[in-house]
Amino acid sequence: MYFRFGSALLLVLAISLAGIVLEKRNLELRRRLTRQHYQTAVLLEKHAKLRLKTQRLGAPQRVLKALRPGQLDQRPAGDLPPASMRSIPLLPWQRQLPGTVRGQP
């Protein structure tokens, strides 16, 4: 009698503890997910701002002024990063450079 009662009590206790552990784990994962979402948002924003800055610096309107009088040299094609890394055309004005693929950024 006592044994059965004790076993049932222990079982209920064990299930409750397991539930609490799972709940805590769930909360922890959700917290981590939220933090990662936040970090992603911050990084995306940073990326957007850096991209904006890059585009401003490489704007044809700005760069052509310096290119014409020779204040700014065009980078030779050999110095360019691989095509996979370079998707947004900046300084090189050639339509198709060796090793580059025109495509969407």
């Binding site: 904006l52 585009q55 044809p60 309107q61 052509l64 004005w93 969407q104």
Partner: protein, 600 residues
């Protein structure tokens, strides 16, 4: 004798005595007792009424107005935060960013909690570069409010300075908002348009493609306590925002730079009211550049004159003048009303049509059809007009798309003006062939000439290449048969090529390039007299190259040049247009876009 029914008797006696007491009470009803009874009855009645009222109120609350109160309670408890979707980017054909969105801080305060409004206004004014008096006046005017924007979309430096003020935490706060930025500055400002402070597209692509670019806002539902503090976020009813689609335009930023510089030069040299230029690929209808002056900076949208907002390339109409002549000649050839081998007598510079005396700039005798275009003879064109008749002329201008929108994705595009045929008279027979009595937009004109350049097919001009996030999307090229290829090729390769080689467009020649073109000098109506003015002109030049297989077409329109002389299309517009063409030829795609063509 002992009685057995003693207790019963006593009960009877007791009951009798109780009844007797009540009877006595009733019998002994003094005024005091009556008042007591009355009070008790009133109390009971009052209690009943009160319970009835409470029951009625309960019914009212729980049944009749249950929905309203439940809604109010929900509104007080729940807070729905709108999560703005990030608008998509706009890029040129090479992927250079023309418009993008970044996040920026907006500053608000709670005026009702301001203890020292003047000092706060002074501090914020210093940090934000605003006027302290105006800021204080705003605080004062909204003193009972709990929310007031101080300044929206601060720069990073301004946000840092505001944080450095260390104002009380319950008085102020930042909210993140999206800020539209145009990294290329003023480049293609008219084509792009801008987004207002509430994120709505205004003008250009920003407005016409707003529903693609703006995205769909999301929402976040939160429970809050009586003080407004958030208790929990209800994940189950959240809706994530769907960011806007990125749009890739057909514009080429480098060609656009050349065009805008040329327009700036034209504005400086000729001081016109406005000017516009378009660069178009006649094979695909892709607009490679489009610009107008005066312009504006979408990052700092303030203009000196109101018409600086206008994209005159699509939203201004003018009489095309001689630039219309190739279209009329092509249609007359198409209809066999004239032959290329034919020549017409140009009456030595004076020709009477009804009550009207037509003039040429120079007196010409007999001119071939080619020379009529090369010399831009009005009398020769009037004679072609006589052969076509008003109906033929009407069909020619409508066939080349005048009087109807080209279909480019710019909401501000005008349809130009072609009057109904029944309003045309004998005057029209002489006027229309020389580009009067109809009004066109620069875009309509270059599209009509592109039809000649591509072998006789009128193509809908395109500004949007495709939309990102929809890779499977194909863009149909809508085109309409206009004139036979043989006719179009003759007009372009012979007549319009001759205009540049030995005609009115000689100043546009480019060494080593076989180009074609047509000048236009249209007189404007003087509003004071209602007649054509002798000193107000619209000078234009439309050209393209290479003549044997045109890849690029350029139109430059200069409205009312005010300094220098003479004001002809060949002197004002032709040199600038040819410089644009020269630069554009080096950049323009060698092969046409592989698009699906759908004949209408």
């Amino acid at each position: 004798m002992v009685s057995h029914d003693g207790p019963s008797e006593s009960v009877v006696v007791s009951a009798a005595s109780s009844a007797g007491e009540i009877e006595w009470l009733l019998m002994e009803c003094t005024p005091l007792n009556k008042r007591l009874v009355w009070r008790m009855r009133s109390l009971i009645a009052g209690l009943i009424v009160m319970w009835l009222i409470l029951a009625g109120r309960l019914v009212d609350l729980q049944w009749l107005r249950q929905a309203n109160y439940a809604r109010s309670a929900r509104q007080q408890r729940l807070y729905v935060e709108n999560i703005r979707a990030r608008p998509g980017e706009i890029m040129d054909r090479d992927g250079r960013l023309l418009a993008m969105t970044v996040s920026a801080r907006s500053l608000f305060i709670n005026p009702s909690r301001l203890k020292t409004p003047w000092q706060t206004a002074q501090k914020l004014a210093t940090a934000l570069g605003e006027n302290a008096d105006q800021l204080f006046a705003r605080f004062h005017a909204h003193a009972d409010k709990q929310f007031l924007w101080v300044k929206r979309r601060l720069t990073d430096a301004q946000a840092r300075r505001v944080r450095g003020l260390e104002l009380p935490g319950d008085v102020w706060g930042f909210r993140d908002e999206y800020l539209r930025q145009y990294p290329q500055g003023t480049l293609a400002a008219h084509v792009l348009g801008l987004r207002d402070i509430d994120g709505n597209g205004r003008g250009g692509v920003e407005q016409s493609l707003d529903r693609f670019i703006r995205g769909v806002d999301g929402k976040r539902v939160m429970d809050r306590d009586a003080r407004g503090h958030v208790l929990q976020v209800r994940d189950e009813v959240d809706a994530m925002p769907a960011d806007g689609r990125s749009v890739r335009l057909t514009l080429d930023s480098v060609i656009q730079v050349f065009v805008e510089r040329e327009l700036d030069d034209v504005m400086q040299t000729w001081k016109p009211r406005s000017c516009a230029a378009i660069v178009l690929d006649p094979r695909s209808g892709e607009v490679l550049a489009m610009a107008s002056r005066p312009g504006f900076d979408p990052n700092r949208p303030h203009v000196e004159c109101d018409h600086a907002w206008n994209n005159t390339a699509v939203s201004a109409v003018y009489e095309p003048g001689s630039t219309l002549k190739p279209c009329i000649v092509a249609w007359a050839l198409q209809q066999d009303r004239i032959q290329v081998s034919e020549s017409l007598h140009c009456e030595n510079g004076k020709y009477r049509m009804g009550r009207r005396l037509l003039h040429d700039h120079h007196s010409y005798g007999r001119l071939s059809i080619e020379d009529i275009l090369v010399k831009s003879s009005n009398i020769g064109m009037a004679k072609i007009g006589e052969r076509l008749g008003n109906e033929g002329l009407y069909r020619s201008v409508t066939r080349f798309g005048f009087g109807q929108r080209t279909g480019i994705r710019l909401h501000e595009e005008l349809r130009g003006m072609v009057r109904p045929l029944k309003q045309w008279d004998v005057y029209s027979t002489g006027s229309v062939p020389m580009g009067q009595e109809i009004a066109v937009t620069p875009l309509q004109l270059i599209v009509a000439h592109a039809a000649l350049a591509n072998g006789g097919t009128l193509i809908r001009p395109r500004l949007v290449m495709n939309s990102q996030n929809s890779p499977g999307q194909t863009v149909d090229r809508v085109s309409t048969f206009c004139v036979k290829p043989a006719v179009a090729n003759w007009v372009v390769r012979q007549a319009m090529h001759g205009v540049v080689q030995r005609g009115t467009g000689r100043k546009a020649q480019i060494a080593g390039v076989t180009m074609f073109g047509k000048t236009g000098t249209a007189q404007k109506i003087d509003p004071a007299t209602g007649r054509y003015s002798s000193n107000r002109h619209v000078c234009s030049f439309v050209c393209g190259a290479p003549a044997d297989a045109p890849r690029v077409m350029v139109l430059l329109v200069v409205d009312e040049p005010s300094v220098g002389a003479p004001h002809f299309g060949g002197t004002v517009a032709a040199p600038g247009a040819s410089r644009i063409l020269e630069n554009a030829l080096a950049r323009a795609p060698r092969s046409s876009s592989s698009l699906q063509t759908a004949k209408k």
